[in-house]
């Protein structure tokens, strides 16, 4: 890979491991528009796998935070996520209410107990 200038490398990575593995499913959908239905076994299983991977990424962003978020103590980050999720469940499953409550809890927790 010595022929690729270092500043172009992130863009090449974006196309190879971001764009292509993502776009292939849209292309399949277009070509096989009458293929599988939403309830077929392989689609249900892949939903479970995809949801678990995304959930794993979410939990890692909260537990093993980087940058400015890492400066906020772990119990406050987890507590804020719990507050936000509870607010979402209590406020008629409103995404907006949950996110606002979680962010408010993070700020309040840090100002009261942080650092």
């Amino acid at each position: 890979m010595s022929t690729v200038p270092t500043e172009l490398w992130p863009f090449l990575v974006l196309v190879l491991v971001g764009f292509m593995p993502n776009e292939i499913w849209r292309a399949f959908g277009l070509v096989l528009a009458r293929g599988l239905n939403e309830d077929s076994e392989i689609v249900v299983w892949s939903r479970g796998v995809a949801t678990a991977i995304l959930a794993g990424v979410i939990a890692k962003l909260i537990v093993f935070s980087s940058g400015a978020l890492a400066a906020i103590p772990l119990p406050i980050r987890i507590g804020a996520a719990v507050v936000g999720f509870s607010a979402f469940l209590l406020m008629r499953r409103s995404v907006f209410a949950g996110v606002v409550a979680g962010e408010a809890a993070l700020l309040a927790g840090t100002l009261l107990f942080g650092r």
Partner: protein, 242 residues
């Protein structure tokens, strides 16, 4: 059939789609999501131009979050590609469901390329709601306008998040970075209709940090394979009992 919405030109249909996008609730969701992704990309040391290109090319927030967060931890490229492709499987049934609404006897394959690329949760939900009231020949430009409105919103707020993360005091920068996991946790829970989605969410939340703390190689792949398969089997077992 005469009551279906019609337009004077393709440009009018496109603009009507843009307007429908900017006045829908998804604009708020996208703004919040891409503010967070912008901050995440800044934190990962990526350029703002890279972020914009990833929004245009990938156009799927979960895949972008996976891509950005794994790139910054130096995960092997094939593991990143695998995680991205598994997160994108859901796009397949969406395209399959959308195409019959856009296609008419006179539609050529290349007319469907843009709507196919634009397919994402927000565009898909709104298209399925709005397209049935529009005359067939105007559906593709309307759909492209709708998507352009959403993508423009995402690009704008991605830049805003990126540069806010650079200039904000630490506490506010931290809360901006918190936006991504918080909004994804809640929107994933909200989209979880079936047992398999709910269990996948719970297992993934537990397994992700545990496997990382144990320094397991390819932790995301195992989180998906073990958590997702367990969720699927329990989902099936429950269906069988019923």
């Amino acid at each position: 059939m005469s009551s279906l919405l019609t337009f004077a030109s393709s440009a009018r249909a496109f603009l009507s789609g843009v307007k429908a996008a900017l006045t829908s609730v998804f604009v708020l969701v996208l703004a919040g999501t891409y503010l967070g992704i912008g901050a995440l990309a800044h934190d990962a040391g990526l350029a703002s131009g890279w972020l914009a290109l990833s929004t245009i090319l990938v156009w799927a927030a979960p895949a972008q979050v996976i891509l950005i967060s794994t790139l910054s931890t130096g995960a092997p490229l094939f593991e990143i590609a695998l995680a991205v492709t598994l997160s994108a499987v859901r796009l397949f049934p969406m395209v399959v469901a959308l195409m019959p609404m856009l296609r008419s006897p006179r539609t050529r394959l290349h007319d469907l390329l843009l709507p196919t690329h634009f397919t994402s949760v927000s565009m898909w939900v709104e298209s399925l709601r709005l397209l049935p009231s529009i005359k067939h020949e105007w559906r593709i430009p309307f759909c492209n306008g709708l998507s352009a409105g959403y993508m423009g919103t995402a690009l704008t707020f991605g830049f805003v998040g990126f540069y806010l993360a650079a200039g904000l005091p630490p506490l506010l920068a931290g809360s901006l970075l918190f936006l991504t996991p918080m909004s994804f946790l809640i929107s994933t829970a909200r989209n979880a209709r079936m047992m398999v989605d709910k269990l996948g969410l719970v297992f993934g939340l537990a397994l992700g940090p545990i496997l990382t703390a144990q320094h397991v190689e390819l932790d995301l792949m195992w989180t998906g394979a073990v958590g997702g398969t367990a969720a699927y089997l329990m989902h099936r077992a429950r269906e069988a009992i019923r």
